[in-house]
Symmetry: C2
Subunit: 376 residues, 2 copies
């Protein structure tokens, strides 16, 4: 059954949701993005996307900033007088929370107590204790609390997951996930600690959520080094190394003072390697044909000789294109509605979000104390 959504907080993310839902496309196309981005956005529409105009409807928005409300009114969206007005509107089924992170807990609890389901931007809370408080109220009220950890639906991640699941490079022994920008932390509340700022709580959530979603194993050990290059108060990036139960390792890195980007993904398996260079999903897989010609003649490399690092040629390796992936880009919105209707299992659960938050807390502890943290 179609649900009506009210959006609390109409900044960068909230306005995107408003456009996505009101347009019925599930895709956020701003009036002010470049033509190139509009074209890319149109391309994002996949062949099996759920028509969310049949599942969601925008009831309205509210922001504490009148400028944002004025923007919403210009788009033709209904603007609520305040959050209380949303909570009292019986026509609202779902509150979508897109406010600064430190506000999520009280707002989510208020919504559920008012009989609303909640779709909550990530990080759902700045720490695991606050999420546990939310989960207690969800359990008590029977309302759905849905963490919007949406980057499980990134095409680059879907490709990596397929490579991992189908062992397209043999058994994977290490996964590297990187995201590098060069603008520091955005100049808003994301740079302020008490508002839940910092890159670990921003991109870190996504990158860790994806790794945990992909690798069905316990994380045994966590090492993390947070960086404070462009900001003293909040981390503006980090390098993290996780060891899973099987010995598989994952390196996760976020940087915001990086003017050249390393590939988004590097996946090393026992029979090959895959790389995804960018969001356009350019990359390749190189697979070994045979381990037989293990040794080579030494080659000259810099000031010395090496046979260990002598490159292979086409005789012993073969290059492949990255696999194609087709999926429902609107599955998160769609699954939220189906979960409320009781017709589907919740894909992104509070328990999963809690595990990500606890993993981040282990990372914070590792970095602060300069130790390896035993996690699970």
């Amino acid at each position: 059954m179609k649900k009506r959504v009210a959006i609390l907080g109409c900044g960068g993310m909230g306005s995107g949701h408003a456009i996505a839902i009101a347009s019925g496309t599930g895709i956020a196309i701003w009036g002010d993005v470049s033509t190139k981005d509009k074209a890319r956005t149109a391309m994002l529409k996949g062949p099996i996307d759920t028509d969310i105009s049949k599942k969601l409807e925008l009831a309205g928005v509210y922001d504490i900033d009148p400028v944002r409300n004025a923007w919403a009114a210009e788009q033709g969206y209904f603007v609520y007088a305040d959050y209380d007005a949303i909570l009292k509107d019986p026509a609202v089924d779902i509150v979508l929370i897109a406010t600064p992170n430190h506000l999520h807990k009280d707002q989510a609890i208020a919504a559920m107590r008012a009989g609303k389901h909640v779709l909550c931007e990530k990080p759902v809370t700045p720490n695991s204790a606050e999420l546990e408080a939310i989960m207690a109220v969800a359990s008590e009220t029977g309302k759905i609390f849905y963490p919007r950890q949406n980057r499980r639906w990134d095409p680059d991640f879907r490709i990596v997951k397929k490579i991992y699941d189908e062992q397209l490079v043999g058994q994977v022994f290490t996964v590297e996930s990187r995201i590098q920008g060069s603008r520091g932390i955005p100049g808003d509340w994301r740079g302020i600690k008490e508002f839940g700022g910092g890159m670990m709580l921003d991109w870190g959530v996504h990158l860790l959520d994806r790794i945990l979603f992909m690798v069905p194993e316990k994380v045994k050990k966590v090492f993390c080094d947070l960086t404070y290059i462009t900001n003293d108060e909040c981390d503006d990036g980090f390098k993290m190394h996780m060891t899973f139960e099987s010995g598989l390792t994952a390196s996760v890195e976020v940087g915001t003072c990086h003017f050249i980007n390393l590939p988004l993904w590097y996946v090393a398996g026992k029979e090959g390697t895959a790389v995804i260079n960018n969001w356009q999903c350019e990359g390749k897989i190189v697979r070994l044909k045979s381990w037989e010609d293990k040794d080579a003649l030494p080659i000259l490399a810099g000031a010395g000789l090496t046979k260990t690092m002598a490159p292979r040629d086409e005789d012993s390796t073969k290059e492949y294109e990255l696999p194609e992936v087709v999926f429902d880009n609107n599955e998160l919105y769609s699954n939220l509605v189906d979960t409320i209707d009781g017709t589907a299992e919740q894909i992104v659960t509070s328990e999963q979000a809690l595990r990500v938050l606890k993993l981040m807390e282990a990372a914070f502890e590792s970095s602060e104390k300069g130790i390896v943290v035993n996690f699970e």
Copy 2:
């Protein structure tokens, strides 16, 4: 004064030295390398290279393998009957040790007690205790013990050192040094633990030596994760993270089951980033023009929006070629002779080699115990 060198061990490295010294070029050109490699080798000759034919002369070689001695004889090199014959030859000034790592200590000590100076392949010993034993004898006999940690003279490293020294990307906050191959550990003694096998003791020595040579700071913390993908006995690679006193971090990685190579170097500074992709020193520097336009319009990236990671364009950044470097490719050989003559300071010292060995021991401990080791 010209010195006469006898080479003990005429395998991969020993034969290279024999060719380099006997040819008077300092460059190892095999008869059996490809034409392409020969051309590259010729290119390696730099404009200010020392003419080592004026400094070194090959006295002869000895290997326990008759096949290697036969090869040496074919080249016209004198072949000693055994190591003892080298030690007893009064015309030999320097013994160059290029045997498996576990043999270096006793052979080096025997050489110095016989009145010879020693040029010793890396790792000079498999552990710091053995090097300390060598250093005691060097001190007692007054002979020079010279660790051949030659990759300080790699062009790629020289470029990185220039970028670091001259702050060509602003103050450097992280350096990443990687070397990736896809042949596992060479199928000889390098895969056997008691012979000092494993990649940490092979490429690890060079990569760590270069970082310590470049960054004149104490290493406070060491995290390392050794890999055993293609070999159970010895590590076939590792990922290592070091934190220096100033907060600068270095990530060092060696891999031998990697079919796609990440760049050799990635250097991130507060005003720019540098990358060196390969041994041909292809790469670039991208520098920020101004931090002013910190925020951008959000862009669509995968399943979501980001302004933090929106790429920069030419308005706020500028791309530069990597700096050129000119240096004496034969400086290690040359400095050995000058050190013996007392006309120069020793560039690669036993103390430096000892620090590298101790750093590797910290890395082994970190990986074995799954902890961060406080180093200096």
